[in-house]
């Protein structure tokens, strides 16, 4: 058990070092895309935990991202808190709002929860314009600071890449540990058969609330990373399509696969955006068309993924193999 744990940590450390070495060799665009991948990995992780394990769905994780981002930027703008602290408070703050909604969520399921979180996602950005302190449509500047001197000369994009990648790695370690712990097993038990889980002494309501709170906190973290890479926090950065994109990313590689699922999903989202960008500029289409084409492809991908590989390609391959075995052995397993 301990061995497993240590091996996982070493794996993460190796990935971290590789990414660090890589960051010195690639251009500004790749660094920016890398930061965006990290942001998506965290955001997708929040959905994997909530939907893939606890069986709940939230269309409002984009709203929790917005919450995290606004908490962080407010702390920096008005209290000049250091960056690390804004991260912590933003995660806690988003988790707290998750608790409020989670208590209601635990009593709901499926469509009710989806609708409630959708209402949140629609309501929240419009609220921003009501409070001048939040900076309106323009938003507020969010300063990522610069690397400490002893690291030498570090460009802004490299610094952003380091921060967001570190955040993603820490988030992945944390989520994976939770999913492998008794909480992860509890969520799975409640998801697959809540009556049986209750009979073995699990409080299904409490387990659902916990999943919701943790997921909201993780989404808050993703929001701060998004705000960092964008340099500002504005309501336009958290449209409904952001929540859709995250869900697409989570579904592509299997909704209950954190690793490599969330990384695959994030890379597909960012890669898709690059591909569409190249395509549209090649044929000299306008920016608006490019943006819409991207959303069209992401949404179509979401539908296709659910229809053709409902539980991810891994599951599909396993099922096909089993099917073949079943046939060749004449029904004997």
């Amino acid at each position: 058990m301990h061995n497993h744990h240590r091996r996982r940590l070493i794996g993460f450390a190796i990935v971290g070092i590789l990414l660090f070495l890589l960051s010195n060799r690639v251009g500004v665009l790749r660094l920016y895309q890398g930061s965006t991948v990290s942001m998506y990995v965290i955001a997708i992780g929040s959905i994997v935990l909530l939907t893939g394990f606890s069986g709940q769905i939230s269309l409002g994780n984009g709203a929790f991202m917005a919450l995290g981002a606004y908490i962080a930027v407010l702390l920096q703008t008005y209290l000049s808190l250091p960056l690390v602290l804004t991260f912590f408070v933003a995660v806690l703050g988003a988790a707290f709002f998750g608790l409020i909604l989670g208590v209601a969520a635990a009593r709901l399921s499926g469509p009710y929860l989806a609708g409630t979180t959708l209402a949140l996602a629609v309501a929240l950005p419009s609220l921003v314009n009501q409070f001048p302190v939040l900076g309106g449509e323009q938003g507020l500047m969010f300063n990522a600071g610069s690397a400490p001197e002893w690291l030498g000369e570090v460009s802004r994009f490299k610094w952003l890449f380091w921060i967001s990648t570190l955040a993603a790695i820490i988030a992945c370690i944390g989520i994976q540990n939770i999913l492998k712990s008794r909480y992860g097993r509890t969520w799975k038990a409640v998801r697959s058969n809540s009556t049986a889980a209750e009979l073995s002494g699990i409080s299904s309501a409490r387990s659902k609330v916990l999943a919701f709170v943790i997921s909201a906190g993780i989404a808050g973290l993703a929001g701060v990373v998004l705000a960092l890479t964008a340099g500002t926090v504005a309501p336009g950065a958290f449209p409904l399509s952001l929540s859709f994109a995250i869900i697409t990313g989570a579904v592509i590689a299997g909704i209950s696969s954190l690793l490599p699922g969330s990384v695959v999903g994030a890379v597909v989202l960012v890669g898709m955006s690059q591909l569409v960008g190249t395509f549209t500029s090649r044929f000299q289409m306008g920016d608006i068309l490019a943006e819409n084409l991207k959303e069209l492809i992401v949404s179509a991908l979401l539908i296709l993924a659910v229809v053709f590989t409902p539980n991810g390609p891994g599951e599909k391959i396993r099922a096909m193999r089993e099917h073949r075995k079943h046939h060749s052995h004449g029904g004997v397993r």
């Binding site: 939907t51 893939g52 394990f53 069986g55 769905i57 269309l59 209601a104 009593r107 709901l108 399921s109 499926g110 469509p111 009710y112 989806a114 609708g115 409630t116 959708l118 209402a119 949140l120 629609v122 309501a123 419009s126 609220l127 009501q130 998801r191 409904l240 399509s241 859709f244 869900i247 697409t248 579904v251 299997g254 909704i255 209950s256 608006i288 068309l289 819409n292 084409l293 991207k294 959303e295 069209l296 992401v298 949404s299 179509a300 979401l302 539908i303 659910v306 229809v307 053709f308 409902p310 539980n311 599951e315």
Partner: protein, 298 residues
């Protein structure tokens, strides 16, 4: 007193649009146990169809039935080619409980961006065939206009048609039976698949009418009906999500709540009120104000 009467009248006119949208959601939920989040997108596309009709013929009156027909056809396509195959493919694994929701969301995204590519994302204006200026009685001008009267009358007509179909025709009986007990209905010789498709078609038509009615008051762009989806969903939940009468009542209740808060508290709360109403209803009366038979964990 003036303000009070205005709030009630506006509440009824806006509320009847929410009621239509709620009706659309409930019709689908009753027949196939799916909350169709793409309803906003389908209604939006139908409204663009209505806009095209107005552009070409100049007639708003023609736009309503054609948009409704377009909405119905679109809904049938969605149900036949997307939702029905889907339910056969996603019966197990972690995706099973959320597959419907995720796919309707994806469809909403496709419709959003598709409409933006076809019609552009700038706002279009649907001109109301009647005056949008408030009625004047003596010295007082009420914010209630001829357009509001049109909205209420059209909604009531649509609801009466539905009420007639559901209560007085064999089709209505089949629709109710198939929603209540699909297995037994099948044994009784009802072609449940076909009846479900008809439920979707009705729903598409209702959503389309809601879109065409709300558009003259606000502008039309690919995203402008999303908020109507939220209002419709809240109204449907107030009514218990599987009751047609409940949907109508829920729409009016929400319309009145919104118009009173914007009259007496301020328009800033427009987007927060439905969210609060939704949470309160779900926590206190989880089966809706009128009470349904199934629980929220269906």
């Amino acid at each position: 007193m003036n303000q009070f009467i205005s709030s009630i009248l506006i509440g009824f006119s806006q509320g009847s649009i929410y009621a239509l949208m709620a009706l659309a959601l409930v019709l689908v939920f009753r027949s196939t146990r799916v909350v169709n989040f793409a309803q906003a997108g389908q209604a939006m596309v139908s409204t663009y169809i209505g806009w095209e009709v107005i552009n070409r013929t100049g007639s708003y009156w023609l736009a309503i039935p054609i948009a409704a027909l377009g909405g119905a056809i679109l809904a049938v396509i969605v149900q036949n080619f997307l939702m029905r195959p889907l339910s056969k493919r996603t019966s197990e694994g972690a995706i099973a409980p959320v597959a419907n929701i995720i796919v309707t969301l994806g469809l909403l995204g496709v419709l959003h961006s598709g409409a933006a590519i076809i019609w552009g994302s700038e706002e279009k204006l649907l001109t109301s065939p009647v005056s949008t200026n408030g009625f004047k009685i003596g010295e007082n001008v009420y914010p209630f206009s001829a357009t509001d009267v049109l909205i209420i009358i059209t909604s009531v007509i649509v609801m009466l048609i539905f009420a007639f179909i559901f209560k007085k025709t064999n089709l209505g009986l089949a629709l109710r039976a198939a929603a209540f007990q699909p297995e037994i209905s099948r044994l009784a010789g009802i072609r449940v698949d076909r009846v479900q498709t008809i439920g979707w078609a009705f729903s598409g038509a209702a959503g389309a009418v809601a879109g065409v009615l709300i558009a003259p008051g606000s502008y039309l762009n690919p995203y402008s009906l999303d908020i109507l989806l939220v209002f419709g969903f809240v109204a449907a939940v107030i009514g218990g999500l599987d009751s047609l009468v409940g949907a109508a009542v829920g729409g009016i209740v929400l319309g009145l709540t919104l118009s009173f808060t914007s009259q007496y508290v301020g328009t800033a709360l427009t987007f927060v009120v439905p969210f609060v109403v939704l949470l309160v209803v779900l926590l206190l009366r989880p089966n809706g104000l009128l009470g349904g038979r199934s629980s929220r964990n269906a």
